[in-house]
Amino acid sequence: MALSREQIAMRVAQEFKDGDYVNLGIGIPTLAANYVPKDIAVMLQSENGLLGMGPYPTEAELDADMINAGKETVTSITGACIFNSAESFAMIRGGHVDITVLGAFEVDVSGNIASWMIPGKLVKGMGGAMDLVAGAQNIIVTMTHANKHGESKLLDACTLPLTGVNCITRIITDLAVLKVANGAFHLLERAPGVSVEEIQQKTAGKLIVEGDVPEMQFKN
């Protein structure tokens, strides 16, 4: 069965290693913070200028001057630091953030990603996404495998304006975990109960399936 948003987030969190600096985009990526394995520590970077982002505030802690990159009110953890946005993107662009997780409209077999506009229809703007995909060491895309019309979002070539080229290394969808390499998607894991055939059917771009593809494990 296709994963819920929370389950995708749980699977994302298993990609984290102890000591990772992590930037989480708006939506499902943000949820991953709730599922960090208990035996490791990660530190969250918020690109407006906060390293060491904490949970949402209680009513008593609420502070208009303390927000994250999604403009939500947040807190900071012990040992956090706060800085300006040029410094924040120096960190990002300079490759000091270990993992970036973000959503997308489309990805393709070349590791390209489109996430910031649909011509004539929707212009959200790229925000920090173009910098993040150009700078982070390890970029994970989370999204549903297909759109609501059942059309695949994993393509041979993106059709929408790009956010970055040749940068996506891993994709975690409601159906599968995939690696992007050598001009193809490589199927690594299936969602529990989802068949390889279903994944093949919903993956428009070149997909390589080798051997038995295991089901995802949720070890939290």
Partner: protein
Amino acid sequence: MAGFNKVVHSYADALAGLSNNMTIIAGGFGLCGIPEGLIAHIREMGVSGLTVVSNNCGVDDFGLGILLQERQIKKMIASYVGENALFEQQLLSGELEVELTPQGTLAEKMRAGGAGIPAFYTATGYGTPVGEGKEVREFNGRPYIMEESITGDFAIVKAWKADTFGNCVYRHTAQNFNPMAATAGKITVVEAEEIVAPGSLNPAHIHTPGIYVNRVIQGTFEKRIERKVTRSKEN
């Protein structure tokens, strides 16, 4: 002698010299750390044809959004339209000229403008619409695009505390784009929550050295929250 006392006592004095078709660089991220009173006074002044450089354009009825309402902005240089319906509508209709710029590139363009660096190279935006028409150059085998810096006729900045010399500190994440904006204005105006005497701020904790600042005004702030999200105490 006036020396280094930069305090002005009216918004009219704070924005004296601002006229039609000028470029304004504004600090702030969303509604966080925005110079509310200066923005309100720009609306009152009625200047138009403005180019505004700011990560966002406020919301429909607050922050820089109020200048969109009045059609005072000719061109926005920003990274994020987001949920500002008026912004998106004026963009899609072509009424507003918009130069969408990646957030990190925007921050760096302001910094470079203030730092006398006319252009720099970044991998951000290479191969995307942002890179179209820009020079591409390889360094160590990776392609980068050249981005030019930005300066403004005015910079408007929101500080937590400013001393009378113009030294500023920002509070929490209200820092955001303010320090870079402060460096990039021909005339930089700081609206502060509190104006303090020189020496009140620790020299090692100052985020914006007063050399960048021309005028300081005491503001009052609503500090509207764009997305209030809380957790219950037990969690």
